[in-house]
């Protein structure tokens, strides 16, 4: 496996399966009364968050702490970054502190690539701009495999703002590697112009795609997209590309509904869908910790997981 996890596309099938299998083992540990493992004792993990994301930061923090790593949370707000310090200077500071792993969340696509060139430790991409969010894709795949027992041949439909979605990019790459068949659905304005070169199918018609889905993943749509003329109104978006109870009823019985959160209830997903038994939203959060533990464990090379 690479020293860094920056793109889901960097993972081979074996790498990805190793992470998912390791996450499975680690998930069993977290059912024990004492959840903490000594595997990363003495290692330092820095959570470098240039963009607010309490959910993702807490998930990584919990993962690192359960592996006994020392965790430093660095939030750009109120920090030297707010005073104009460059990413490179921040990287040099982290180097001086001896960070073994850096988890970075940044609003600029490619920021983790740049950081990886400036630090010795492993860089984990926790979401960069409109590029990728590989641990989200891993936890999604983990959730699908747990619920449906397989990934090979699984029909996964991802719906919404594909153009600006790092979740969609990472999921397409990872699920393709793992043998699932992905279909992207959204208005043409919210699909990249060269999306036909991606390893997936593309559709503008949600209603036609729903019955052919084993998994339907709804992406958050930001209301400010409306101002840039990507779609005429939130109501129209919701009618054409939202998952309401009627559309959910067209899903095959075994199909699951996913959402990376935070949800816009009533926009891309109706409240009764979000809270339905086939919705995995809460599980995804729990699985996120296990998957991130696996990633940190495998990248930072801790001691063997005790049997």
């Amino acid at each position: 496996m690479n020293r860094h996890l920056i793109s889901a596309g960097d993972l081979t099938r074996d790498d990805a399966l190793l992470i998912l299998d390791t996450a499975d083992e680690l998930a069993r540990m977290s059912d024990r009364p004492i959840k903490k493992l000594p595997t990363l004792r003495g290692r330092t993990v820095v959570n470098l968050f240039f963009e607010d994301s309490t959910r993702t930061r807490i998930s990584f923090e919990a993962a690192a702490k359960r592996l006994s790593a020392d965790v430093i949370n660095f939030s750009a707000k109120g920090s030297s970054v707010a005073k104009g310090e460059s990413l490179k200077d921040t990287a040099q500071t982290l180097e001086a502190m001896g960070a073994d792993g850096v988890v970075i969340r940044h609003s600029a696509s490619g920021a983790p690539h740049r950081l990886a060139g400036w630090v010795r430790g492993s860089v984990v991409n926790a979401g960069d701009g409109t590029h990728e969010h590989p641990t989200q894709a891993l936890l999604d795949a983990f959730t699908m495999r747990r619920r449906l027992g397989r990934l090979e041949g699984l029909r996964v439909t991802i719906v919404g703002d594909i153009l600006h979605s790092r979740v969609a990019r990472s999921n397409v790459l990872l699920l393709h590697t793992l043998g699932a068949d992905v279909t992207l659905v959204g208005p043409p304005t919210l699909q990249p112009v060269a999306v036909d070169t991606w390893p997936c199918a593309v559709s503008y018609d949600l209603t036609a795609t729903v019955p052919k889905s084993d998994v339907i993943m709804m992406l958050r749509v930001q209301q400010e997209r409306m101002k840039a003329a990507f779609f005429p109104s939130v109501r129209e978006y919701s009618r054409r590309y939202g998952l309401d109870a009627a559309r959910m009823g067209m899903l095959p019985e075994h199909a699951i509904v996913m959402h990376p959160g935070p949800m816009n209830r009533g926009v891309e997903i109706a409240a009764e869908v979000a809270d339905a038994p086939r919705s995995t939203v809460v599980e995804q959060v729990a699985n996120g910790v296990s998957v991130r533990m696996a990633v940190l464990y495998l990248l930072l090379g801790g001691m063997a997981v005790p049997a």
Partner: protein, 458 residues
Amino acid sequence: MTEMGASGTASAAGTATHGAAETPDGPRRAAATWLIRGARSASGEPEDLLIRDGVIAETGRGLAAAGAAVIDADGLIALPGLVDLHTHLREPGREDAETVATGTAAAALGGFTAVHAMANTEPAADTAGVVEQVWRLGRQAGRSDVYPVGAVTQGLAGAQLAELGAMADSAARVRIFSDDGRCVSDALLMRRALEYVKAFDGVIAQHAQEPRLTEDAQLNEGEMAGKLGLAGWPAVAEEAVIARDCLLAAHVDSRLHICHVSTAGSVEIIRWAKSKGWRVTAEVTPHHLLLTDELAASYDPVYKVNPPLRTAVDVTALRAGLADGTIDCVATDHAPHPAEDKETEWAVAAFGMTGLETALRVVQEAMVDTGLLDWAGVADRMSVRPALIGRLTGHGQPLRAGAAACLTLYDPSSRAQVDPSASPSKSRNTPFAGMALPGRVIATFLRGSPSVIDGKLT
């Protein structure tokens, strides 16, 4: 081997002695008479060039002149001094990135004897005062002539015409006007500018970029931008403005020049406009002739430029357009930036690449070594035609007796890695760093006075 240090260490093919002046006290900038022996002219025949008092006094075989400094130019190509229509010298305002002195030093090392300094300085070159300042700084630097480009609109703001006539009448005698870096997107303003400069045979050089289609744009809109999650800069945003401006230029029968053409579609539109007999000219940058948007996969902003690097299909079309004359010339868009403006995340980095020192070498790689252009073609596209577009009289002349002695001696047989640290430019943002490129500028003469000898600044 380093870019500039080659001559001291190279043992192959006699490059060590190329261009070394055989005078008792070595290279002498002050020598008034130079005899260049056996340089291949652009048409291919070796001949001697005798330079005296700033002009080419004589050409032919077996020339002799008592007291002349002699350059053995066997194997070298003699080109008329290169002319760049598009250089950012950054002075006044951003002297941390480049000055007229450092930029013209880089120009001389690249074989240029004339550069056009773009107007997006601080303050902008939108008055006779600023263009005269830049023009004077160029005269003082003395290594290559500096022709200021005047802004089309006040402060490049795209709202009100700058005093184009005052700049044309100034000591700088401005003939090219451009808001480069920004597009004159207002159709009415563009029409008026095109019309107005007819009074003094000026030309509007348009940076073609529809602003609404390129808000926050980072990289060519296509497969790479989609994959990398970078906001797309669509080809249509360039092509739509070019099409509109060709029609406007035709309507008012004025001269239009298109800066840094970067897409296959733009080449087609310009070819069509030229077929109508409209007075449209165009330039292409060296980087758009050689590099593609795939380089952005590293997110290294050294590859961030405006217009962006495009695809291999575009590169092929640009090369074909330059070869058949649809694109009139190569212009560097030399855009120096300090390290801190490039050692950042992609989205916040400055647009632009340096290019003066590598331009001729890149053109050899992309056009000559591929068989698309011969050396006469290079002389035409990098000297004769840009000088015509800029209405320069002392540049871009064939190397014949009586012409101003502005010329470049170039060794096409050399090959070396580009070493940015060897550059006299204040900036290091070359996308060609570490790339092995053919060729080496051995000497550059500006009106008989050498600015470069043996590959080094005099």
